[in-house]
């Protein structure tokens, strides 16, 4: 059987709570923004069909809680990610400093084949906030960090004003697709397929 052409890209959005992960995803997928703050509990995804270089793919975008107390089940969903988006709030220094931890944590938990070349994208969000007069992280500093980490693409975004959101996700999709590894193919371990193929019966009830 030929390997199925991959059409699903898995993207994980990480960052401190409140930086705008949920808002960015909602702006990109639903073209909506809410200024109310509602903490995200647990992790779940939205999907979006995108065209990347003449290919139509489905992006599965995972939004995460960003605070430990609402991440009780662990991070099994990191596995198989094609791209990881690191978000911080340009008006909150600490959220930028924590990017390092988010990145490390992701690499440890997701355990990608080639960690050095795994695609990340960094988003500095809320650039619209108070006209930028409370900015704590300058663009240069963020770009410097991205360069140090092997040239991570960097975007300055606003989920509220829909600034750079499409461009960022287009880049995310492109990098995710580049990362595309042949889907791990299962090959039955006996030649006698029929013998293996009979579903085992289980006893007991649910």
């Amino acid at each position: 059987m030929a390997a199925r052409k991959r059409t699903l890209l898995k993207v994980i959005i990480l960052g401190d709570s409140g930086v705008g992960k949920t808002s960015l995803m909602n702006q990109y997928v639903n073209k909506k923004f809410s200024s109310q703050y509602k903490a995200t509990i647990g992790a779940d995804f939205l999907t979006k069909e995108v065209q990347v270089e003449d290919r139509s793919v489905t992006m599965q975008i995972w939004d995460t809680a960003g605070q430990e107390r609402f991440q009780s089940l662990g991070v099994a969903f990191y596995r198989g990610a094609d791209c990881c988006v690191l978000v911080y709030d340009v008006n909150a220094q600490k959220t930028f400093e924590n990017l390092e931890t988010w990145r490390d944590e992701f690499l440890i938990q997701a355990n990608p084949n080639d960690p050095d070349n795994f695609p990340f994208v960094v988003l500095g969000n809320k650039v619209d906030f108070e006209g930028g007069k409370n900015r704590q992280v300058v663009e240069k500093r963020a770009k410097q960090w991205c360069a140090q980490k092997g040239g991570i693409p960097y975007f300055e975004t606003s989920a509220k004003e829909d600034i750079n959101v499409d461009a960022a996700f287009q880049c995310i999709a492109k990098n995710a697709l580049k990362n595309e590894t042949e889907e791990e193919m299962y090959i039955p371990d006996t030649v006698d397929m029929n013998a293996q193929s009979a579903p085992k019966r289980r006893t007991g009830c649910c």
Binding site: M1, R4, L8, T22, K32, Q36, Y37, K38, A39, T40, I41, G42, A43, D44, F45, L46, A65, R69, F70, Q71, S72, L73, G74, A76, F77, R79, G80, Y186, I187, P188, Q196, S197, P199, K200, R202, G204, C205, C206
Partner: protein, 801 residues
Amino acid sequence: MVEAMGLEEQARLLQEAGNAVKRNAFFMKKAMDEDNLREALRYSATLLGELRTPTLTPQRYYELYMQAFNELTHLQAFFREERRKGRSYADLYELVQHAGNVLPRLYLLCTVGSCYIRSKEAPAKSVLKDLVEMCKGVQHPIRGLFLRSYLCQVSRGLLPDVGSEFEGDGGSISDAIEFLLINFAEMNKLWCRMQHHASGRDRDRREQERQQLADLVGRNLTYVSQLDGLDFALYQEGVLARVMDQIVSCKDAIAQQYLMQCVIQGFPDDFHLGTLDSLLGILPDLQSGVQVHVVVSSLLDRLARFAASDKAVVDTFNQVDAFGKLTRAAAKVTESENEVPSGDVVAMHAALLSFTGAVYPDRLDLVNKVLTSAYQALEKQAPIKDAKAEKLLVQLLSTPLDNYDVVTVLELANYPSVMSLLRPAKRKEMAVKICQTILRQRTLVSSMEKVEMLLDFISPLVRDTEGLEDDDEFFEEEQNLLARLVHQLVSQDTDEHFELLRAARDRFNAGGPKRLRHTLAPLAFAALRLVRTIKEGTADSKKADGACKTVLQWIHGVAAQLAEVPAAEIALQLYLQAAHAASEVACLELIAYEFFEQAFILYEEAIPDSKAEVTALQSIVGVLHRCRVFTAESRDTLVHKATGYSAKLLKKPDQCRAVCACSHLFWQELPAEEEGDDVAEGVQPPVRDADNVMVCLKRALKIANSAQQQLAVVLKGDHTTPVMLFVEILNHYLFYFEQGNPSITTSVLQSLLELVANEMANENCQKDEALLAFYNSTRNHIAIQKDKGDELAQKFSSLQL
């Protein structure tokens, strides 16, 4: 039920189950490629059967679930393909119900169901209702919880939310809410039921597993809060009431604790402000194991941040009396029958206080209310011994210090009572904080009442406290703080200012000698500054003199007390500074004289060693030189004494230097030009006694000479100190020469120059770098003076180097 087993065993089981999923997925996809629906369904059901595993912990089970989930996305695509080929979803919906086992059957049903809704061949609300009901077929907690989160995951985006394409025929927002809340309630029941399955031995492990599963239940609330159509009215009527109902009725502490957090964090602030009564109202109905203070604290934190982010909402806070409600809720928590640990009580009040600060930055009365409430809640547990509680209480007391004027905070009726809850060591820590804050904010403490109150607060620093060892490593540092604090006790009114210092002294007296050594001197120095203020600020000179006298007499007493401590060296310095002030500021000769006499007595009787003597004498001579109030007679007596001391110093070099210094006692500076004739009353004309200067300098030369001879005997002449003395004396000569002192003629100077040059030729001197440098710079000075081309240069011109 999950049995206790090691991590490795769990990993192995997961691997096995995962392999089975992969194997069946392989055949499922093969069947799809062959367009064999029956086989595809059969393999997918088998694949899903792996989720019936009874052995995995929630986190491992989640990994397996994720694997299965990924495979099911292929199945969704396949169903859509089938639909295109003409098979209806109604058909498929029927067909999958033939799967033998209930768990795989329901997963398949949810999968088809989501396609069914998306196709709009059936109204969303009916399919959703059907599915959420059908899922009741699985009552095993872990399996049921994951199945239901699968249902939500696949139906997300398919709900008949406002503005959604599924609204209308598919239903309305209330159907969406209904679906999510039923699912929420069912999941919560499954989750709580887990607890009852556990025997005593398994309890801890079971609790841990439950904690891990919490987010699956809480997630439903996130889905609800993210509905576009959820406005406040719907939330209040349709959501909160039912969620609260579920929370109370489940009677499970873990669930209640967690779900309260979810509601508080998951829904927006303005909703909370509108529903404070309901939120706070159910607190008393929660199980005894629930840490209500944590719930209240997180609500407070959240609302505080809301207020800080947008000042405009403060009105809303007022309209709903948020402060009153939250304070009462906090008080109620601490009144409850089960004793709340002191640390938690303090933590909650700390949250309440920072809430108050954020919402009402100008309302000190509210700060006081919070303190009152804290005091009442903790009174019975005083003194607070729990380490965490102590630390938090110190923080609680420090917060208002940082945000408001210190003295105003200290005046709050309940600040001292809360402070009294602390053990002495922590009270002292607070005292240090208070001092630091006053110094940092440069707050002036300017009335008697305030000073008394402040000194009460910081009494652990001021005097011994029962139960407190104070000879610790921080003692000096603390006393220095106190010393610096003295300078913040200031009043515009000089009489009052003086009263403040007197009051402080009375308090400091209780601190005993070890503290007085640090605290008395700053009082006296502050008073010295006050003398200047009085003199400069009082028009009536008689009145000024009277007031200055009083203060100086008081300083006299302080210095005498210091000498008794004993701290003779500081006392002596104080007498001298006081003498200087009496002379130069107040022009009170008798008092200045008295201060000198006291300084001399101390010099004679109490200076401990020869080194200290040298320093003390330097100060005496320095101050005396600058004092201009003395008439010739008293001046003679004082100068005579000082020169007498010089001759009695132990070491010859010290004697020599002291005598040189004394020469200046006969040569005071002329008043500065601008002062002109306008000298203050009582100031005597400067002493310019050339003969006596010469007497001193000659004596210095003699001493240097004899030092040289003495050392030549002892050290065989390789010592350069006497030559250094000669160079120093030469410099004094030069000074007087430049000053036009008639005793120092060119020829006198020339012969000294030659003498020194001779000495310098000595081999040892040439090796002494410091000496050489000093000598050369002296010669340089002469050379420069020669070159200047002014009047002085003329005098210098005949000097030969």
